[in-house]
C-alpha cells in the first residue's frame, strides 16, 4: 500500500484541496496521513521520517512556497531522504514551475486538476 503524507506548510489556512485529495487518495487504496494546518518545514520532514512515507504531498495557496519549498527540499537532503516522491498542489506562477521541478518537486498540480490525475501520477511514479 502506498503511504502518503499530506502536509500544509506555513500559515495558510486553505485546506479544502488537501482534504479532498487526501480522501480521494484513500478511496484509491492509499494510506494518507494529514498533518493539519501550520506545519513548519522541520515538522514536515520529521513526519516524513517518523511515518516512513513514500510520498510527500504539499498543499499551498498562500504564495509562500518560494521560501517553504526550497527549505523542505534542503531538509530532506540534509536527512539523506532520497526515495520519497514530492508532489505539490496549489497556485504556482507558471514561470516558477521549471524551478520547482528542477528542485525535485516532480508533480505540480494547479487549479482544475482532477483527483484522478493525481492518483495516476502517484501510482505511476511509485511503481517505478
Amino acid at each position: 500500500m502506498i503511504k502518503v503524507l499530506m502536509a500544509k506548510p506555513g500559515l495558510d489556512g486553505h485546506d479544502r484541496g488537501a482534504k479532498v485529495v487526501a480522501r480521494a487518495l484513500r478511496d484509491a487504496g492509499m494510506e494518507v496521513i494529514y498533518t493539519g494546518l501550520r506545519q513548519t518545514p522541520e515538522q514536515i520532514v520529521e513526519a516524513v521520517i517518523q511515518e516512513d512515507v513514500q510520498v510527500l504531498a504539499l498543499s499551498i495557496l498562500s504564495g509562500a512556497q518560494d521560501y517553504l519549498f526550497p527549505r523542505i527540499i534542503e531538509l530532506l537532503k540534509e536527512k539523506k531522504i532520497k526515495d520519497v516522491l514530492v508532489v505539490a498542489g496549489g497556485i504556482f506562477p507558471s514561470e516558477d514551475v521549471p524551478k520547482l521541478e528542477k528542485m525535485g518537486i516532480t508533480g505540480l498540480f494547479g487549479p482544475g486538476t482532477t483527483t484522478g490525475d493525481i492518483i495516476n501520477f502517484i501510482q505511476d511514479k511509485v511503481k517505478k
Partner: protein
C-alpha cells in the same frame, strides 16, 4: 394567497397540463432524470400559485424595511442609495496598499476593505521565524500603528468606511484604527466600518485562530461592550458564511452554520451581562454569492427572515435595528478557473447580480485573474465596473426586491429557510455552535459536501465550463499578473528594527504589563488596554504574545 376557487381551477388545469406533458417527454426527454440545486433541494418543472397556498404576505414577506425583512432591511433599498462598492485589497507594504486604495477610490469605489497578510492575521510580527516567506503575500503586513498610519495616509477616516478582514487580533487592529483616526482629529464616534472578528469559522474553515474558544469569545464580547459605548457606528462583528462555503459546504449549510455561530455570539454577550438591544444592531453578516443564481437569492432572503425571527423570538430583542440582518457579499473565489480566465468575468457578473437581487448592503466582486494570482489593478477595475454597470445601467436597482412574489423564489426561500432551521435545531441539541465546532461536526459536514462537489465535477454531473467541458487545448497564459515584491519581508524587518530603537521602551513595557494584568482579570474589558498598548507603539506580535501568556494557544484536534 390566491382565492380557494382559483386554486381549485389552477390545480385542475395543472393536472391536465401534466397529462399532456407525457407526449412531449416521450418525444423530447428532459436533460436529466431529476433537477437538484447545490443544497440538494429537488426542483420542480415550474412553480405556480399552488406553491404559495400557505403563504401569509404580511407575516412572511411584508414590506421592505418591515419585520421580518424578507424583502430588504430598508424601505427604499437601492432607490435611496446603492450598496457600498468595497473591493477587498491588500498586499506587500502599507505604502503600496495605500496606493491601491487611492486608485480604487479615484475609480469610484465607495468603501475600503483591508486584506492583511497571514502573520498579521495570526499575530506574529514580520520578523518572527514563522513569518518567513509569508510577509505581504496574501495581504498587507501591519506590525504596528506606524504601518497602520501609512496604510490610511491621506484618506479621511471620517468620510470613508473601512472593513477589515481580521479575526483573532481584530480588536487590536480596531485599536490601531482608533489611534490613527485620533491623529487625523477624528473621534471614535465618527468612525464607520467593520471588523470581521468571527473566530468560530476560523476553527472550522479559515484557519487564522490564535487563542482557545473561551478566551476568543471574551475578546469578542469585550469588543461588543466597548464599541456600543465608544465607537457606536462600528460593526463589531461580521459573522461569515463565506469561508465555510469556500471550504465546500452548500448554500443551506452556509446559512445554517453562520446563523448558528451568530446565536453563539449573542448568547455569549448576554451571558457576559450585556443587554441585547445595546449591541445587536452592530452585528453584521458576510455571505458568498455562488454560481446557482436563484438559490443564492433565496438564501439571502431566507437569511434576513430567519435572523429576524431568531432575534425577536429567541432573544427577545425589542428594537427593530436588532432584528435586521445586514450583510456584505463577496463573489465566489472558488468558482473562478485558471482555465480560460476571461470566463471569470462573466461568472463574477452573474454572482454580483444575484447579490444585488438578494439585497446586499456591501459588495466585493472578484477579479478574473484570481485563480492565478492576486488581482492586477486592471482586473480589479473591471470588477468594480461590473458593479457600477449593474447599479447604473441594468435598471434592477429601481424596484425593491424585484423577484419578490415569484412563485419559484418564494418557494425556494421557504425551503432554504426550513432546511437551515433543521440544521440549527441539530446544533442546538449538541449544545450550540461552540460545542458543535469543538466536536468537529461542522468540519465533517463541510468536508463531506466538498468531496461530493469534487466527485460531481469529475463524473461531469456538474459542468465547469473550460475545465471539464468546452476545454481549449491550447491556452494563452494571461500576462501582467501581479507579483508581490520579494523584498517586502526584508523591508518590514527593517521598519521593525527602526521602530524598536526609536520608541520609548519603558512606555511599551508598562502598557504591556497593564494589559497582562487586565487579561488575567476576566471582569476587565481589554479594549482600553489594546488602545494604550497600540499608542505606546507596542507591536501586534508583542500584544498578542502578552495575550498568549495568559490565554494559551488553540491546538487543532
Amino acid at each position: 394567497m390566491a382565492d380557494k376557487n382559483d386554486l381549485k381551477k389552477i390545480r385542475k388545469e395543472m393536472d391536465e397540463w401534466e397529462g399532456k406533458l407525457a407526449e412531449t417527454l416521450k418525444k423530447r426527454p428532459e436533460r436529466k432524470p431529476s433537477f437538484v440545486n447545490t443544497s440538494g433541494i429537488p426542483l420542480n418543472r415550474t412553480y405556480t400559485p399552488l406553491d404559495m397556498e400557505e403563504a401569509d404576505y404580511l407575516a412572511d414577506l411584508n414590506f421592505p424595511g418591515d419585520y421580518p425583512f424578507t424583502r430588504g432591511v430598508q424601505p427604499t433599498m437601492y432607490r435611496g442609495r446603492h450598496w457600498t462598492m468595497r473591493q477587498y485589497a491588500g498586499f506587500a507594504t502599507a505604502e503600496e496598499t495605500n496606493r491601491r486604495y487611492r486608485y480604487l477610490l479615484e475609480k469610484g469605489q465607495t468603501g475600503l476593505s483591508v486584506a492583511f497578510d497571514l502573520p498579521t492575521q495570526i499575530g506574529y510580527d514580520s520578523d518572527h521565524p514563522l513569518s518567513q516567506g509569508e510577509v505581504g503575500k496574501v495581504g498587507v503586513a501591519i506590525d504596528s500603528v506606524r504601518d497602520m498610519e501609512a496604510l490610511f495616509d491621506g484618506i479621511p477616516l471620517d468620510k470613508v468606511s473601512t472593513s477589515m478582514t481580521i479575526n483573532a487580533p481584530a480588536a487590536i487592529l480596531l485599536a490601531m484604527y482608533i489611534v490613527i483616526a485620533e491623529k487625523q482629529g477624528v473621534t471614535p464616534d465618527k468612525l464607520n466600518g467593520t471588523i470581521q472578528n468571527d473566530i468560530l469559522k476560523e476553527y472550522t474553515s479559515r484557519g487564522t485562530y490564535i487563542f482557545p474558544p473561551e478566551s476568543s469569545m471574551r475578546i469578542i464580547t469585550d469588543t461588543f461592550a466597548y464599541c456600543s459605548e465608544s465607537v457606536p457606528n462600528w460593526n463589531t462583528i461580521s459573522i461569515s458564511g463565506y469561508h465555510m462555503r469556500e471550504a465546500g459546504c452548500t448554500a443551506v449549510q452556509e446559512l445554517a452554520f453562520t446563523l448558528a455561530n451568530g446565536i453563539a455570539y449573542i448568547d455569549a454577550a448576554i451571558k457576559a451581562g450585556l443587554d441585547v438591544d445595546t449591541f445587536a444592531r452592530r452585528v453584521s453578516f458576510f455571505f458568498i454569492s455562488q454560481q446557482d443564481f436563484f438559490e443564492e437569492i433565496a438564501k439571502f432572503r431566507a437569511a434576513r427572515r430567519l435572523w429576524a425571527r431568531i432575534m425577536k423570538e429567541r432573544f427577545g430583542a425589542k428594537k427593530p435595528a436588532s432584528w435586521m440582518l445586514r450583510f456584505h457579499v463577496q463573489t465566489a473565489g472558488s468558482s473562478l478557473t485558471a482555465q480560460q480566465p476571461d470566463n471569470n468575468v462573466v461568472r463574477v457578473a452573474f454572482q454580483t447580480l444575484s447579490a444585488v437581487l438578494g439585497g446586499t448592503q456591501s459588495l466585493h466582486s472578484c477579479s478574473r485573474d484570481e485563480a492565478l494570482a492576486l488581482p492586477s489593478e486592471e482586473a480589479v477595475r473591471l470588477s468594480l465596473r461590473t458593479q457600477q454597470l449593474i447599479a447604473h445601467e441594468t435598471g434592477v436597482t429601481d424596484v425593491v426586491d424585484p423577484l419578490g412574489g415569484s412563485y419559484y423564489i418564494e418557494q425556494l426561500t421557504d425551503e432554504v429557510e426550513r432546511r437551515a432551521e433543521e440544521y440549527i435545531e441539530k446544533i442546538d441539541k449538541m449544545g450550540g455552535a461552540v460545542k458543535a465546532t469543538e466536536k468537529g461536526y461542522i468540519n465533517k459536514e463541510i468536508e463531506e459536501s466538498a468531496y461530493q462537489y469534487q466527485k460531481g465535477v469529475e463524473d461531469k454531473s456538474r459542468i465547469v465550463v473550460g475545465v471539464n467541458d468546452f476545454v481549449e487545448e491550447e491556452e494563452e497564459k494571461p500576462a501582467d499578473l501581479l507579483k508581490v515584491d520579494p523584498t517586502v519581508g526584508e523591508s518590514q524587518k527593517a521598519k521593525l528594527k527602526e521602530l524598536r530603537s526609536s520608541r520609548d521602551q519603558s512606555k511599551v513595557e508598562s502598557s504591556l504589563k497593564d494589559l497582562k494584568k487586565a487579561t488575567e482579570n476576566k471582569k476587565e474589558n481589554l479594549l482600553p488596554h489594546f488602545v494604550n498598548s497600540v499608542r505606546s507603539e507596542a507591536t501586534l506580535g508583542e500584544i498578542c504574545d502578552t495575550l498568549r501568556e495568559v490565554f494559551g494557544e488553540y491546538q487543532a484536534a
